[in-house]
Symmetry: C2
Subunit: 365 residues, 2 copies
């Protein structure tokens, strides 16, 4: 059976790092390890330049039809002034919503070879392995009304609406508890229930779900305190589940702690299809399009390659091959190869292509 | 002229650390350095136990009438199950709103003696001096609708509303720019304009205000990136202005960086009265009520005392005395005195009372 991948490299370094994933796919296909068909589309500024929109309906349809979407990154100063609804990020938001990939998994792991690259003291982050489970299709990102109204006299009023319903919280909580079972058995649920009604409902629903998981420890934490505690003693956390906006911020803090921002992948999963059991899935690096270094061949392809490994694991159940790719990444780092963003004394700094090639060479060996 | 202070010690360690401020006031009054009249009220759980509400109308009226409110901290597990509208935090939210203290100043400074207490590498935080200017009376904290609706079938819908109007953003931006002028001359404005309409308006208004401050550098930063950058290279920041919810989280991150959480004060200021020029003002430590250590006499009173110093500076223009109090704090730390939360090798750990007394002794000297 052929598996279909839809590639959306996007803008900036997105296009450069996607090339390394394509080489990997070509090799796993050639070896008969996989049987991927691939197609490529445009997203973000690239789509705007070509078609005047952040992503075309055709490409959204292709993303919807694919077994998995592999996404690079979007945005850059070139598109700072495009109309709001066509800004590069709109591609991402539209894809998340239309694919209904509500469960965003953002692992923050500290690669041993990079522990000293963190701004935190080494002993606080060495061995760090947190999984942020972020709700991705609800909350203030999509709630209506979302408007700016002119009140006259130079005054405007802007409104965003945070909306959550029970079922949305229930399903993301179950994803978090299920994953905690396969890991440290601990879930922190972060909200601002002391200020927000959505936090009150969030906490109520998560506590209810917890009753079905008596083997998993549940801790409530206020989102502001969660941000603090991530900086203070990150290793106290295993799985953290939170809403779309808090997840945006907390996952960035967690990622930064690891010293490995250019290394971190993410997966966004939909609900299993009742008929086939298949989930819509969307894989992307946590980092952005890094316009400042785009086009120089120096971007770190590891987060992109690790996102592909997540696709192998979560969409295609190729756990062994996924682990091999992840081990290849670790091995290359242990060998002392680094891209510029993680340059270190006594290590060799290489470009995007050489890093990708080194990982592929490890896989072949 | 007598100046009036309204003291709201609150719960937990709030009551213990307020005692040290009262001793300070008694001394400055006795020395003729100040002429404060003080009155004390109940807030949070303490008010709930006495009156069944988080704060009484009488105490709100007294807070409104005072020249400055000095607030301790509220909350604790004892009140986890009180009705939502009477939870301890409701006192804080009501006071902020009714006093209209929209400008929350949260300095995050790293005391030299404590640089090694940060979870960040010492060189990244040594000398850190960031001022977070948080909008405090608007946004998702107070926007309506703010409801939970029962939809039947076990489903509920929770709604919170983020609302900002031009004038609210304009006035907080001016506070930030004015303060930047007295400091490093740099403002970062943090929002999520790539996702939120309130962010779009926020950025538009801040840019407009910036035109009146051509001597101040303005940088836009996305709130998620701001959280990251605070962890990565905090010293790049001088003043950061942001909305109520982002300010809640970002100021906690900034506070945690310093390793001095128990040391950080805050001031919340209203608009100057058109007739008298006076601003409503509310001073409180950044830390909470720490129920786990309450009643043991070991809480760190420094943030509370430093909040009083901010009152001297911002409400009473007693800049010299404020500086003396701050210098007394630094001197005591340099002498090697520590409370338990900042205990260090080769330092002497003391309780709340001894720390307060030592600071007072330095002032006298
Ligand atoms: C680009 C932006 C819309 C996006 C978000 O806010 O979700 C990004 O920050 C992320 O975390 O994926
Ligand atoms: C106690 C709580 C309501 C409050 C807030 O969210 O503003 C606190 O976290 C703060 O930062 O002062």
């Amino acid at each position: 059976a052929t598996h279909s991948l839809f590639l959306l490299p996007g803008d900036g370094i997105g296009t450069e790092i996607m090339v390394e994933v394509e080489k990997l796919i070509a090799w796993t296909n050639a070896e008969g390890l996989t049987d991927f068909s691939t197609d490529t589309g445009l997203a973000g500024g690239a789509a705007y330049d070509a078609h005047g929109v952040a992503i075309t309906d055709e490409d959204v349809a292709k993303a919807n039809a694919a077994d998995a979407v592999i996404f690079g990154a979007v945005g850059g100063p070139k598109w700072d002034d495009v109309p709001y609804e066509h800004r590069p990020e709109a591609a991402l938001l539209r894809l998340r919503k239309e694919l209904a990939v509500f469960a965003n998994l953002r692992p923050a792991i500290c690669y041993p070879a990079l522990a000293s690259a963190s701004s935190l003291k080494k002993e606080l982050v060495e061995g760090l392995d947190i999984l942020i489970v972020r709700e991705l299709t609800g909350g203030v990102y999509f709630g209506e009304p979302k408007t700016i109204t002119d009140l006259g006299d130079g005054q405007k009023r802007a409104i965003d609406t945070q909306v959550y319903e029970t079922y949305e919280i229930d399903r993301i909580a179950r994803v978090a508890f299920d994953l905690a079972r396969t890991r440290g058995g601990k879930v922190h649920s972060a909200d601002k229930k002391n200020v927000m009604k959505s936090g009150v409902l969030w906490d109520e629903v998560v506590r209810n779900v917890a009753k079905d998981y008596s083997d998993v420890e549940l801790h409530h934490i206020l989102a502001d305190n969660a941000a603090m505690q991530l900086v203070r003693t990150p290793k106290q956390f295993d799985v953290m589940v939170t809403d779309n906006l808090f997840g945006d911020i907390l996952s960035d803090v967690a990622a930064m702690l690891t010293g490995s921002l250019g290394m971190l992948p993410s997966a966004s999963l939909g609900a299993p299809d009742p008929a086939t059991g298949k989930r819509k899935a969307f894989y992307e690096p946590v980092h952005g399009s890094a316009p400042d270094i785009a086009g120089q061949g120096i971007a770190n392809p590891i987060a992109m390659i690790a996102s592909f490994a997540m696709a192998l694991r979560y969409s295609f159940n190729m756990v062994e091959l996924a682990t091999q790719v992840e081990n290849a990444i670790s091995a290359v780092l242990s060998d002392g190869l680094r891209t510029g963003d993680i340059a270190q004394d006594n290590c060799r700094t290489v470009g995007t292509e050489e890093m990708g090639a080194a990982i592929l060479a490890k896989l072949k060996a």
